[in-house]
Structures are given as C-alpha cells and as structure tokens.
Symmetry: C2
Subunit: 403 residues, 2 copies
C-alpha cells in the first residue's frame, strides 16, 4: 500500500513538455467526443470539461433546476444530453452549441432518467406524483404516463418510482418504492406497456436500483436491510432472488442495519461484484455468476462509491467522513486487496474513468475541484476550480447499456 | 434452431408506422454519434450510414487507396477518423463534414493502424518497408519510425509488422512477422521507445494478432499452426504462453493445418473466448482466465467471423463458401450451443453490433448490401445498396480499448 500526493507533478510535466513540444494545448476546433458535463450542485449549473484540451469550456449551462442527484443521459447520435432534476424538470442540452434546447416538467419531483436503446424515448422516474413519464426525445412531447398505483389493505395508494434504466430489447426497467414492484416497460410497442410486474420481498422498502453493465441483472436495494433483490432480466418470470451482503464471518457485523449507498456505486469487474457498504469499513465482494458472498475487503474508512476501470483490473473507492473523504483506495481485482491509497482533495463525490481507462475524473466537492488523475501513476495531471462539483457525465455514456 | 428470412418485414414495419407515427425518419440535423463508415472495397471509397435516420448519407469519400483489409480508427474527441490502407496511405476524415482532412504516405504497403489512448498519436504497421511509423494525429507529421530489423544466421533482415493495437498505459503493441517478436511501444515517452521485445515460438510465422477487449492479453496467430501465442500485457517479462486450439477429442482433426482467420474475428464474452477455425465446421471455446480448451461448438459450415453482443449473451458467426456465406449462426454464451440460424444475403463479410446491442450491421459483399438486423427478432429492418461492402466502423470505436 503506497500513499502518494499529486503535489510534485508540475515539474514533471514541464520537463516532458520541453522534449515533447506537441504535448501542449491544441488550438484546433473542439470535438464533442471528449466533452464531460459536471454538475455544480449549489448553483444548479453544468460545467463542461474538454478531455482533449484539458480545459473547462468558457460556457456554463444554467437555470436547470435542483440538481441534487441529477443524472444526465445522451442520445445515441450525440446531438443532445438530457438532464432530469429533483424539481421535475427535464432539460435538453445541445452537445455542439452547449445551449439549452427545450425543457419540460414531467412532475414536481423526479429522480432518474433513461433513454431507450433506439434513442427515441426518454423515461423519467418520479416521486411526486409517483410514476413514470415517457417523452419523445425529438419533440419532448409526453407520449405515455404510468401512474404508480398499488393497493394495500383494500386502499389504493400512490408510490414513488426510482432506479429507471434502459435494458436490452429496447426496455425500460424501474421499481416502485412503496409499491415494492419492479416494472419492465416495452419501449417498442404502442402505449409502452408494462409487460412484467415483479414483486420484491415485503420487508424493506426499495429505495434504489442498478443494472449490471451487460444489461442482465437488475438489482434493488432495500431500506434497513442487508439484503438486495436480484432480477435476471432474461428470466423475469422467475422473480427476484434475495442476496445477502452480510459477512458470514461476522467480524463486520453492525448494531443496526442502515441505508445502503446508491446502487450506481456498485462496480462489476471480472468475476466479481464490489459493493460499498454504508457505515462499514469494507467492500463486500459477490460472485458475478452466482451472486454468492465471496469475501470482505477491509478499507481505510466507510466507502461511498466503487468504480471499475474499463480494463476491469482495478476498482477505485471513495469514502465518507472528513477524515477519509479526500482519499481514494485502489482495489486490485485479481488479488481482491487494496493496492494503493491516493490522497486527492476534500469530499470526493464522483469518479469516472475515461473510456479506455487511462485517467480518472474526480469531483472534490468541499475543495471545489475537478481533478484529472492518471490511472497508472496516480498523479494529478489537471485541476479545475468548480462550484461544489458533483456528478460527472461523459458523452460516451451514450454507448453503454444502462447509463 | 430456427431459420428465418428477412423477407416479410415490410408489412410489419408499415403497420408499426401507422400506430407509431414518430417512428418515421427524422428531418433534424444529424449528429455524428450514429455515423458508421463502410468500406466499399472495389471502388476504394467509404460510404457513411446514419443509424439514427437509417439512411446512407449522400456523400461518399473517395480516393483513399487500396482498401483491402483497411482499418479505421477514431480520435477520442470524435473530430477525425483515420484510415490505413494497403497502399501505405493514411487518410484523415473529418467526421462532421465527411471531407478528407489530410493524408500521408508512411510506406508502400501498410496493414493496420491504432490510436494512442491519449488521442495524440497514430501508429501504422507496415509490410514494405517493414516497420512501425508513428504520426502526430494533429499535424500528421511523422514523429518516429521503428524499422523492423532482425538478425538471423548472422544476416540482418527486414521483417513485416502486423497486428498493431492500442493497449492500456498509452502503449502500442504489434508483432514482427519474419522477426517473430512482439513489441510493446511506450507512446508517452520521447522517441516512443520499444520497452519490451518478446520472442514468439520459432515454428510458424506470426501473421496476425488481437488484443482482448479488457486490454489484458495480446494473442498472436501463427501460419500453419494450431497454436497461438498469448502474452499477458500485465506481465510482459513472463513471455508468451502457447495455447492449442486442437480439440482433444480429435473428432475435428484435419489433415494439414492451415492459416487461421484474422484474429479480429475472435470473440470474448462471459467466461469464454470463441475462435472460428478456418476450414473446420466448429468454433473452439477457450477459458478466458486459463486459456484452456473447453470444447468445440459444431456449426453449419466453415466460420469466418465470431462477433460478440455487448450483452455478452450471444455470438454471431459468419461463414465462407457459397453454400454457407449468406447465413449467420447465433451461439448462446450460456449453453455454448447454436440457438438460431438466420439467412441474410450473399457473402457476409463483416458484422458489428450497435453499441447497446439492439441491432447488428452486416455487410453482404456479393449481394452488395448493408443490412441492419434486429438482434432480438432477427428481422432485417433496413437494407442499403453499396458497392462490394466490406469493413464496418462505427464512431463509438473511439471509446473501446484496442480498436
């Protein structure tokens, strides 16, 4: 385990530039493939970082609503990004001009969005009123609404909906929180029917969900539970399987189970699934094929996000708490152990690998920094000042299942 | 096993359009994310297909040289594509305007190219004179040349070079054919040093190579051999491991071993590697972690390409020979057996899944067709007429390791 600081880098880069003059900035027009959108949470704006020139673009996109837990998706032709916000606003952003190109309010409070595999429809998961709204990606017209109604003790109630993702077969998948039901929606058929409704276990309200990068499994987290529900999307009629995240050795047992972190924080790499557990200083490792608990990996603090390298060779883990939240630990997928600890900057919120895995973009919220970290040397190669940066969304998400 | 023809599709689409009017073509400006370049081999031109509008763009790009085995790579910012040709010409194409934006001759005969992970350098593998040329992607200036010299029986000879790919750590990897040596080139250091030279076994000249999609293994095929050499790029000093593709049961044994197909035709999915074997009616299946031979999957004819779905759930296989070359067989990765046979059009050359796996683009060379096939229903949803179409290159290759 080594600890490195990114501090002494400037000299190295200066030396490199003197022998490698063409490594300097480029004056050429910018392509959209290297654009990365970063949520500035406090100001409700989006900053745009260009990975090719390693510069923030001068233009910020503003007036986007409440950007807590905002998620951004991209059309497959890379003309537009779509941002869903907590204030129920869906904003469309032109990826070329970086102007707002339309917005629509689908609810008073939305949590997530997804784009169909054919790029034609946007689905938004909503808290208030609870349901799913489907928009035409081109006209932004509402083409369908599914109210999240369910019956309990003879009463008809309304549920919040969360965890909406795109899935193979031009489907959307989401989960009713109070309704405790997974929906599979067919985005290729008129009316966008809910073709499967799959109950989740009665104990522990669903609060978030994720899809594995191969689009096969949909995983639902439950409040106050150390179990998750796993649905094999190739066999939806089999229903969910409950999977425990408890370490059978018991050494990490806690007094009271609490909320798990957002499931977008899970990392799938090689044969394994890596799960950061709130309030415990470990990652749980599950077998990707069987979902069996394999082991715990001890960490320096309480993990928040686990992010896989595109090489599937390592997992980068961020932490909560002022003593730990400026550190990242790098877990080796082969040995299932921590191979490095890197000190970066205060309150790391999000991390995202560049598409071929050479670098990691890191938002440090308290330090007001966006960092570009070399994935091999762990040196900070660029640093930009942003206002309370949070989510990081590169346009290449257009080409990934479930993002 | 089912046999379907794409013939009866028009009616289905017409019905769909009547209830789903927004499924029609869009008049909006086109984004570059859905552009797919298709080599027209006989005329030495590139056609451009737009996956979003499902139309060929009116502009063809011409004057590109001999496009046999031409490969196209894309800059990470999606400003440019780079095409290497058998006549030694590297052409740069502006992805927005679809105009040629510069060209350079690096040799009399080149075979392959690759772009460094940082997007700054293009490397070309050359037959004549044998070597590797490295270009600045921005200026197209030659920044380095490595002549492929080797010594045998006291004489200095020149080798052809092939199989150049980008690899993690901003490396290029390629192999000397006559020189029988793998090179790992560091594209981040001045002079682009060859940091590792790894000998391949003396018997059977290397003729092609591939890198696994996670960037970990570099695999070299040998002429007149049923073995391949596998190099673990995380441990280059350990040298290559020889792996047999022979079926130990012997039932597929052939009289004389011949050339394997191009290694770009191998598919890596789930726990397995699928290898089409020239002149045998089977796929060999190897274990991805150990490289052990697992089993043979019997096929309807002699396979050419095996292509994986992004879901890693199935492999599509094309065939050689007039009796078979209009068919594709779909292999299920879980059961390791053929689950469907699809009849498409004459002499299928290349297949490429769309990024999230919903469709497969297929070039049918004798039929002069580019087909868009639904990956789930196996229906042909669009069909375009091209001149002897061959390689298919979507811009999303910019975001994949080794492409």
């Amino acid at each position: 385990m080594t600890i490195r600081s990114g501090a002494a880098l400037a000299l190295g880069l200066a030396l490199l530039a003197s022998v490698f003059p063409w490594l300097g900035g480029t004056a050429a027009a910018q392509g959209i493939g290297s654009r990365v959108f970063v949520v500035e949470r406090a100001s409700g704006s989006l900053a745009v970082y260009d990975l090719a020139t390693r510069e923030l673009l001068p233009k910020r996109i503003e007036g986007l609503g409440n950007l807590r837990h905002a998620t951004m998706i991209f059309s497959p032709d890379l003309r537009y990004g779509f941002l869903a916000t907590r204030s129920g606003q869906v904003s469309r952003i032109d990826l070329e001009t970086l102007e707002r190109a339309g917005e629509v309010f689908t609810s008073k409070n939305s949590i997530d969005n997804a784009i169909s595999q054919d790029g034609r429809f946007i689905a938004t998961a909503e808290y208030d009123p609870g349901g799913v709204t489907i928009l035409d990606a081109r006209t932004l017209e509402v083409v369908a609404r599914h109210e999240a109604k369910f019956t309990r003790d003879g009463k008809e109630l309304r549920s919040r909906v969360t965890g909406i993702v795109d899935a193979p077969g031009n489907r959307f998948v989401c989960v009713m929180m109070e309704g405790a039901e997974i929906w599979i929606i067919d985005a290729s058929r008129p009316g966008f029917p809910i073709e499967h409704r799959i109950a989740t276990p009665p104990n522990g309200m669903p609060y978030d969900a994720m899809i594995t990068p191969d689009g096969r499994y949909y995983v639902v987290g439950h409040l106050e539970s150390d179990r998750v529900s796993v649905l094999d999307l190739t066999r939806p009629k089999q229903g969910v399987k409950e999977v425990s995240l408890r370490d059978p050795a018991g050494k990490y047992e806690r007094g009271a189970p609490v909320k798990l972190p957002h499931l977008a924080s899970w990392a799938v790499a090689g044969r394994w699934i890596f799960v950061p557990l709130v309030g415990e200083d470990r990652l749980a490792v599950l077998d990707r094929a069987t979902w069996r608990f394999e082991r715990s990996i001890p960490l320096r603090g309480h993990p928040v996000y686990a992010v896989r390298s595109p090489t599937e060779r390592e997992i980068w883990v961020s932490f909560s708490g002022e003593d730990d939240d400026r550190f990242v630990q790098v877990v080796d997928v082969e040995s299932l152990s921590v191979e490095a600890t890197i000190e970066l900057a205060g309150r790391i919120y999000h991390m995202d690998f560049t598409p071929r895995g050479s670098h990691v973009l890191v938002s440090a919220n308290r330090a007001n920094k966006l960092l570009l970290v070399n994935a091999e040397s762990h040196e900070i190669e660029d640093e930009e000042t942003l206002q309370s940066p949070s989510g990081i969304f590169g346009v290449w998400r257009a080409f990934r299942i479930g993002l």
